[in-house]
């Protein structure tokens, strides 16, 4: 792909994620969402950068509560995601899962911090056992580095040489807790202690990130070994909704380094306008259509018991 086309594609995807989540926040404010949403506004580059370099036919992704971006970058199934979060039967999981519990093809999320890490490890073992060429990617936040199962999994991933790529999406906060109140030492050093190769990158340029992610993915696939990729990023939106206690100046400072805006500068004003309008129109028409979709009945839910 030509550089220009690639930039357009990456930008479109990042903007799609941002607009979709802005829409979700708006729906939430209007009382149209049951539950909560954790948006990744500001962190889109992490999702897009990784999904750009994996093999979507075979690779397997495990993610967490903040997964809309990962999901859209994986599948671009805006309809399935929005219908799921809105609670419709046409959603990815029939509206049962909601924002934090998504599944499609080889993509799985859950709302228990760290809980998916040993499951991702098991999936990696299964792929190795089957002799497939797939790798497994697991996303985790800085706060989740406090969970014990993460270290059990780092240990076994290294010990058994499993094709598992750990992606630490470090946005400096866990809900309201800044890293300095939660973690001693360095994250990469923790992985290194298990003889796992690591890389640290500050996510301000998605194109740079794509290269780093590509190397990590190749390393895992070729060596059938784990890799630990520490991405330093920042979310502009609150943790979920109405729970932001961060310093406004700090947020403003990070917004100046928005990877989406940085990429936008590589495109013409007309192109940006065109992409943006297309996305807005698509979201409107999807939301209109979802409005008419049915919800699941209790009887249908209970069929799952069988």
């Amino acid at each position: 792909m030509m550089k220009k086309e690639k930039v357009e594609k990456i930008y479109s995807l990042m903007l799609l994620i941002r607009r979709t989540e802005e829409k979700l926040l708006e729906l939430f404010s209007r009382g149209l969402l049951n539950g909560t949403v954790h948006t990744c506004i500001g962190q889109e580059a992490c999702a897009v950068g990784v999904m750009e370099v994996i093999d979507k036919e075979i690779d397997i992704i495990f993610s967490n509560h903040r997964a809309h971006g990962h999901f859209l970058a994986y599948s671009e199934d805006v309809y399935g995601l929005l219908a799921e979060v809105i609670g419709k039967k046409s959603g990815l999981c029939g509206g049962i899962g909601g924002s934090q519990h998504l599944h499609k093809k080889n993509f799985y999320t859950n709302g228990i911090q760290g809980g998916m890490v040993p499951i991702a490890l098991g999936a990696a073992k299964a792929e190795k056992f089957k002799g497939s060429n797939a790798i497994v990617i697991v996303f985790l936040g800085d706060g989740t580095m406090g969970q014990g199962v993460v270290y059990e999994s780092l240990n076994i991933a290294s010990l058994w040489s499993l094709p598992l790529l750990f992606i630490l999406e470090d946005n400096h906060y866990a809900q309201t807790t800044p890293k300095k109140l939660a973690h001693a030492g360095s994250f990469c050093q923790r992985a290194k202690a298990f003889d796992i190769q690591t890389e640290h990158i500050k996510v301000d340029d998605v194109l740079k990130l794509i290269n780093v992610a590509d190397n990590a993915v190749r390393y895992v696939r070729e060596n059938k070994k784990p890799f630990f990729l520490h991405m330093e990023t920042y979310r502009f939106s609150p943790h979920s909704k109405g729970d932001d206690y961060r310093n406004a100046e700090e947020i403003a400072k990070f917004k100046l380094e928005d990877p989406l805006i940085k990429l936008e500068k590589e495109l013409s004003k007309e192109k940006v306008k065109e992409i943006s309008e297309n996305i807005d129109n698509m979201l409107l028409s999807i939301l209109n259509s979802i409005n008419n979709d049915n919800e699941m009945s209790l009887e249908e839910l209970l069929i799952l018991n069988n």
């Binding site: 990815l92 519990h101 599944h103 040993p118 499951i119 098991g122 999936a123 014990g148 018991n305």
Partner: protein, 331 residues
């Protein structure tokens, strides 16, 4: 065959017949073959498919789920049932939920098997029967091995269920011989439930109405042969229903219990762990006829001491059960 060998044999057969069956657990490799030697020989026969792990129970559970999601059939061993608490989050928030929360689009077929129970002086953290903390979790079968259940059928049915199954093995049963055919004192019948497991009915009489129904599961079954014989001498007709799938309780089990409860008018419900907030309370709750006299008996609700005498006093035993029966018959 001893129950430990029955389990070992069915594991071997499952591995031989299904290439996707993987064993995972701590210290399960030969020559040791697990703390209770249940997996002995298997790592020699299937070296690629018996995975010994670090002491990481939560990850044993999590890896099993991940392997199950991706097409393998893991059978995890938790060395002592007491350690299954470390797996709680994986079982409750992952294994049980993934299928329904993804609207039925995935399955998590796996077994977690573990020895429970005291009587060997192992003390407070190696003697408990902790299954009651897992009862009632939807989408997980909890099944117990007993002296009277066809062990092989339990495992093969679990395999066919394509969902997470926890198999509780009371460790005192391991060296005992299965007792699955009637003799001239104890009459045995099997009742298939709609989920494919079995309840076993044993009686110390033929063609008559029973005086008392005993409902129980798992390790407590080890007392029943003797108790039923002794009750013949007391001229007390006892029918006992030994439940295979202890959670969720099947519709067939519920109707079986109610049928015999109505015949007897007296029901004694027994469990190995403490009865407080336990399985026996749930069984009491499913008995519809409010005129029936119901008693529940378990171990004393305290920690299980290592001291031999104290341990005997804390755990449920034959004498306590017989005293209870006699008291109930006198009413």
């Amino acid at each position: 065959m001893k129950i430990c060998d029955e389990i070992n044999t069915v594991l071997f057969e499952m591995m031989q017949n299904n290439r996707e069956v993987i064993l995972i657990g701590e210290d399960i490799l030969d020559p040791y073959g697990g703390a209770f030697r249940i997996t002995k020989g298997l790592s020699s026969s299937f070296p690629e498919r018996v995975l010994t792990t670090p002491i990481s129970e939560a990850t044993i559970a999590g890896m099993s789920i991940g392997m199950a999601l991706r097409g393998l059939y893991p059978i995890a061993e938790i060395m002592f049932g007491d350690f299954i608490t470390l797996c709680m989050d994986q079982l409750l928030n992952h294994a049980s939920k993934l299928k329904p929360m993804y609207n039925g689009n995935v399955v998590v077929p796996m077994i977690m098997r573990t020895p429970m129970g005291g009587g060997r002086g192992y003390g407070p953290t190696h003697s408990q029967s902790l299954e009651k903390h897992f009862l009632g979790i939807p989408f997980i079968d909890i099944v117990a091995v007993s002296l009277f259940h066809n062990v092989k059928r339990i495992f093969l049915n679990a395999y066919n269920r394509r969902r997470p199954v926890i198999i509780i093995e009371n460790k005192l049963l391991y060296p005992m011989e299965l007792f699955i055919s009637s003799n001239d004192e104890v009459f045995i019948e099997n009742m298939l439930t709609e989920t494919g497991y079995c309840d076993v009915i044993i009686k110390n009489y033929i063609n008559n109405t029973p005086d008392i129904l005993i409902v129980t599961y798992g390790g407590v079954s080890r007392f029943l042969k003797t108790i039923l014989r002794k009750m013949i001498e007391e001229e007390i007709r006892v029918v006992s229903v030994i439940i295979g799938q202890i959670s969720p309780i099947s519709r067939k089990s519920i109707s079986l219990i109610n049928t015999y409860a109505n015949q007897c008018g007296k029901v004694l419900i027994l469990e190995e762990g403490s009865k407080e907030f336990g399985w026996s309370a749930e069984i009491q709750g499913i008995i519809e006829n409010r005129d029936i006299i119901i008693n529940r008996l378990g171990s004393v609700n305290t920690i299980i001491p290592s001291n031999k005498k104290l341990e005997e006093q804390v755990l449920i035993n034959e004498e306590k059960i017989i005293n209870n029966i006699l008291e109930m018959i006198r009413i």
